[in-house]
Symmetry: C3
Subunit: 206 residues, 3 copies
C-alpha cells in the first residue's frame, strides 16, 4: 500500500512537471510534437540524467506509464492552455509536490546505489531541477532555476534530510516524508513571499 501511494505521488509529480513543460512549449509556439517533447523532458529528464549517472537504465524509458502521463499532461496543455494558465495556484502546488517528491526519491535512489552523502544530495537536487533545466535549454532560454526564487535550495533541503536520516540510521519512510514536507514548505514560502537567493553585485550582461 505504501508502494502504491509512492507510485501515485510519483505520477502526480510527473504530471505536474509535464504541465510546466507543456506551458513553456505553448508560450514558445512549438507544434504538437514540441509540446509533447517538452512535457516529457520536463517530467523525466532529471530522473533520466540521475539514472544514467548511476549506470542504470532510466525507469521512464522502460516503463511506458511515464510517457503516458506526460503525453496526457501535454495534450491537456495543448488544448486548454488558457484554462491551465488560469489555474496558477494548483499548478504551482503540484509542481512543488513534484519537486519535493523527486528530490527525496532521487536522494534515496542514489544512496541505494551506493553513493556517498555528497553524491546523494547532488543527485537529489538534480532529480528535482534537471527536468526544468532541460526544458528551458530546449527553448534556448537560461534555465529559470538558475535565476529565480528559492527552488533548488528547497530540493537541497529535502535531499539533505534524507541523507542525514540515512547517516543516523533513522527509519527511511518517515524521514522521506519529513524531507518532502520540508522541501514543500520551503518552496511554498519562497513563492508566497518572493524569497530569492542573493545575486552577485552590480554586473550586467556585456
Amino acid at each position: 500500500m505504501t508502494a502504491t501511494f509512492v507510485v501515485l505521488i510519483d505520477f502526480l509529480g510527473t504530471f505536474a512537471f509535464a504541465i510546466s513543460g507543456g506551458l513553456v512549449a505553448v508560450r514558445h509556439r512549438l507544434d504538437l510534437f514540441g509540446v509533447l517533447v517538452l512535457s516529457f523532458a520536463a517530467a523525466t529528464a532529471g530522473g533520466i540524467i540521475r539514472d544514467v549517472l548511476l549506470g542504470l537504465v532510466p525507469a521512464s524509458v522502460v516503463d511506458w506509464r511515464y510517457l503516458a502521463v506526460s503525453v496526457a499532461a501535454g495534450l491537456v496543455t495543448f488544448w486548454w492552455h488558457d484554462v491551465v494558465e488560469r489555474l496558477r495556484n494548483p499548478v504551482q502546488i503540484s509542481d512543488a509536490i513534484g519537486l519535493s517528491l523527486f528530490a527525496v526519491l532521487g536522494a534515496g535512489k542514489a544512496l541505494a546505489s551506493g553513493l556517498g552523502p555528497t553524491g546523494a544530495v547532488m543527485l537529489g537536487i538534480l532529480s528535482g531541477v534537471g527536468g526544468g533545466i532541460v526544458r528551458d535549454v530546449l527553448v534556448a532560454t537560461i534555465p529559470g532555476v538558475l535565476q529565480r526564487e528559492l527552488y533548488a535550495v528547497a530540493a537541497f533541503v529535502g535531499a539533505l534530510v534524507v541523507v542525514l536520516g540515512d547517516a543516523l540510521s533513522l527509519p527511511p519512510a518517515p524521514v522521506a516524508v519529513g524531507g518532502a514536507v520540508a522541501c514543500f514548505v520551503l518552496r511554498w514560502l519562497a513563492i508566497r513571499r518572493g524569497w530569492r537567493l542573493p545575486q552577485p553585485r552590480s554586473r550586467e550582461v556585456p
Copy 2:
C-alpha cells in the same frame, strides 16, 4: 551482403545528417572546429543518447568511421557550402533517408536490448531526431524539429512499423524496409506539401 548494404545506408545517413550540421554551423559563422563538431553532433548525437540510455558504449565513439564520415561531410560543407546550399533537393532527400534509416535501426536496436514497445518507439524517434536537436541547441536556437513540418511524426511511423512487425513476429528485414519506406514517403510528402503539425491557438512569446 545485406549487412554491407545496411552499413552503406547507415554511412549515407550519417553523411546527410553531418551535412545538415555543417550548414547550420556555417550559417552561424562557427570556425572550422565548430563546423566539424556540429557535423559530428548532428550525425551521431541521436544514436549516442540512445546507446547511453540502453547502457551501451555508443558505436560512433568506438568505430572511427563515423567520425571520418562526419569530418568529410563537415569539410565539404566548410569549403563548398554555397554549392551545398544550392543542392537543396539532394540534401533533403539524403536527410530523409537518414531519418528513415535511423528511426528504423534505432527501434530495432532498442527491441534487441530488451526494451518494450513504447520504449522502442521512443528510442526510434530519438535516434532520428536527437542529432538535429543537439545541433540546434549548440547554436542556441530552438530545435527545428519542435516547430517545423512533419519530421518526428515520420520517424514515429517508421519506428512504429518496426515495433508492430516485431509484435506480430513478422520477418525483421522486410518490416524494416517497409518502416523506412513509410517514414521516407511521409517525410517527403511533408516537405513537398508543407504538411505541419497543429500549433496551439493564439499565444505569443511574452
Copy 3:
C-alpha cells in the same frame, strides 16, 4: 608521490574551470545557486560526459572533493568577481593548465577503458572542452570553443601525443607530460597572438 601530484594538478584544473563557469554566471546575473551550478558544470561536465560514454560512474559524482573545489571557486567568483576579472592572466593560465591536463588525462582514461586511438583522441578533446560547452549552453549562448581562438586544437594536440605515445609503447608518464606541455604552449601562443581557426567565407546568420 606522482599520483598526489596528478591529483593536485587535477584539482587546480577543476578550480580554474570552475572559476570560468562562475564568471559566465555572474555576467548573466544568475543567482547564487546558478553560479555554483555553472562552476560545477564547467569544471566537471567534460569528464562526466566522457565517463558516461565509457560506461563508468563519473568520478565527480562519487568523489565529494570535486564538488567542494567547484563550490569554493564558485563562492570566490560570487563574492570577488571584480577582483577575479582583473586577474585575467592567472585565470587564463590556470584555464590553459586545466585544458592541458584534462585533455591528456581524458585520452589516457579512454585508452585504459579499451577505446581505440580515434575514440581516445575524441574523448580527450571532449574532456577538455565539454565543460565549457555545457557552461555556455546553460546560459543560452553559442559555446565559445566553437568560435574562438585555437582551443580545441590545443586539446587535440595534447590527446594526440598521448595516443601516439601509447601506439609506440612509450612510457606513459613522460608522454603525458609532453602532451600537456604541447597543449599548454599551443593554447598560450593562441591567446597571445590571437591565433584562430579559419571561418567559412562570407555567410551571415539569415
